[in-house]
Symmetry: C2
Subunit: 397 residues, 2 copies
């Protein structure tokens, strides 16, 4: 069958996160996947919503629906993001099949082969996979504890401009970053927006996690500070309600929403109507707002346990981020420790899984880094998993 495959297929890489998840069996503790704690799912409420939806509007909820999303849901989502400071109405909203589909569609409508995009380095692996299909040139800008290095973004923009290349967008996860856990400062947000103006480019803001910032003040989204329609905002229900609904949304300039909808027709035609009705009713009942304090508390506790275990077990020379929210801690081991090469040993001998930092880097760097997720394992397993990882690092320094 190999002979039939397209050149693009031969370039696609199966996700390392995914290969990893296969290993997570009986005795391996996984700090790998970014899977939410099922305790955060509002099961009773969803059950109640489904009962009501199927009793009162089954003919609509089980039928085809518009590609952009059902009208009432686009209205409710517009209200939801407005309450978070984003100027948006019905026409600015597109419902997607998770934020993953939004990233694919953005690549599809914006990127011609050779166009530049600028990403944080490291960044979300799924975004790199989504964009890669459209063959952009990808430039990475390094991260620190305050988010992306804005000077590096400007250097990349200047480099593109000198070379006559078109930067289609800067892709950023400004709040509770995946994989690093860092949150962009307000100053950097302003600076990024100014750069987008100056160099006439777009910003794609990916925001799955800001909703559960559990420490300090939640900074405003880039989209809420956007006065010229340059920011495309992407979010998802996966961490707010349940990943099993596979719903996300885009807030963007109406012309972009229209282009995304035409593209979406050829990909999924529409997102599942039944799930859309669940989200619609959840928004009408303010279920997300009601859920948030509980979700924040779940993840704050988990983070605290991980940070405590790291402090207790990690050897001299190891560093890690202290996330204000989200699901991830970014670990930097002493430079000699190759966490990429050590992964098979971690799984076989030390019985702990993590995602090597190289997976998230656009330039193959980050051999001594790893993403540790505190979102899913029981608290005891987080402690024990970190202890196992620390033992391995000590034995290989």
């Amino acid at each position: 069958m190999e002979q039939f495959l397209s050149a693009r297929t031969r370039l696609m890489k199966a996700s390392q996160v995914r290969a990893l998840l296969r290993w997570v069996g009986r005795d391996v503790i996984s700090l790998g996947g970014g899977v939410p704690d099922p305790a955060s799912f509002p099961v009773d409420e969803i059950q109640d919503i489904l009962r009501e939806v199927l009793s009162t509007k089954a003919a609509a909820a089980l039928q085809y629906a518009p590609t952009e999303g059902i009208d009432e849901l686009r209205e409710e989502l517009a209200g939801f993001v407005r309450r978070r400071g984003i100027k948006a109405s019905f026409e600015n909203l597109l419902v997607t099949s998770g934020s993953q589909e939004a990233l694919d569609l953005l690549g599809r409508i914006l990127v011609d082969r050779g166009d530049w995009i600028i990403v944080e380095n490291p960044t979300y692996l799924g975004a790199l996979q989504a964009f890669a299909v459209y063959e952009p040139h990808i430039e990475g800008a390094p991260m620190d504890e305050n988010g992306v290095n804005v000077e590096a973004v400007e250097q990349a923009l200047r480099k593109a401009s000198r070379g006559g290349a078109r930067v289609k967008f800067v892709y950023t996860i400004p709040t509770c970053h995946n994989p690093t856990g860092s949150t962009q400062s307000l100053e950097r947000r302003k600076a990024l927006l100014e750069l987008a103006e100056e160099y006439d480019t777009l910003i794609v803001e990916d925001d799955p996690y800001s909703y559960f910032t559990f420490e300090g003040e939640e900074p405003p989204s880039l989209k809420s500070m956007d006065n010229s329609g340059r920011v495309v905002y992407v979010s998802t229900t996966s961490k707010l309600l349940a990943p099993g609904l596979r719903l996300g949304w885009v807030v963007a300039d109406e012309a972009l929403v229209n282009a995304l909808a035409v593209a979406k027709q050829a990909v999924t035609l529409q997102s599942p109507t039944l799930c859309q009705y669940v989200l619609l009713e959840a928004l009408r009942r303010s279920l997300i707002e009601k859920q948030l304090p509980r979700i924040k508390e779940i993840y704050r506790k988990r983070r605290d346990v991980m940070l405590e275990a790291l402090g207790e077990h990690m050897p001299e020379g190891a560093r890690w981020t202290r996330p204000r929210g989200g699901m991830f801690v970014w670990l930097t081991a002493p430079p000699k420790v190759n966490l990429d090469a050590l992964l098979p040993l971690a799984l076989e001998k030390y019985k702990v899984a993590y995602v090597p930092g190289t997976s998230f880097h656009v330039d193959g760097s980050g051999h001594n880094t790893a993403r540790l997720s505190f979102s899913y394992p029981p608290l005891d397993s987080i402690r024990e998993g970190v202890a196992r990882l620390a033992r391995m690092i000590k034995e290989h320094t």
Copy 2:
């Protein structure tokens, strides 16, 4: 915003079907969209299934799931297609977000720019949209009442071979074709499979409708006659259970399933877990098999009413197909009648909607043809809609 769009976006055409659906308001009778009759939805059973699923396995049903689909569902689907004569096991099954996603993924993993694909002419518009993004050269082979003209397919294969081009696949909807309603004869099915062997190419068999062949015997699927893994079979729950679940499935050689899954990771990551559990439980309860007699009866009656109305109202020189199943009748008006150009008038003056045949043709031909759907309007509206259309055709012959 125009300046940011990719070249491929500027080439994308919004579906005419979709633009049409906007018109369908108060006084326009739509014979346009292929929307199922909500009376065919097993609402009570779906409600019962959802109650059970959320009571007994909510943590799984609302969580992330494997990209290929949940294991138990792949098992059940393999059993389901085996009962229809297809040799398949777990590894040959991929769950998709409707068959539309399957078509996009197939284009993605198989088609390099300039590769050839051969399609029926006319064919399903959504397939043309899905493939077009990957820039194939598309050859059309004409249809008649027994399906695609196999000699024309062979000519196209020979033409490709002479020109040194690679035909990646032949795309066919062999049973209750969309848009023509025709069903391929057994002889042609055998001939198509032989051609695929001889010219070393794949066949993509799109099969949303064969399940409700309501007249005569249902011919075996191409996939059930496939001994070398050359047939990729695509189907959907949209007409069997409900479109609002947005689920489809692919049956293919394991190597292709693996490539499709890697591609799917970057597009939708996975199809909605909750909907997958609904389908799983529906299969376990044999809900589809139990539904089929009822669905067949609904659509048989609708078809009969449309055929009767066509016989009663259409003028001399108009012809139409007599589908054995599915949702569509293909109308050919006298050659002078341009049903493409007349559409705005049909909507405004005659208050009837249809899909002009040109939308389904790869070569812009078919000006005097149209697809008429009998699946959704009430029986009286089918009669009145056909009468209105006939009046327009008479007044413009």
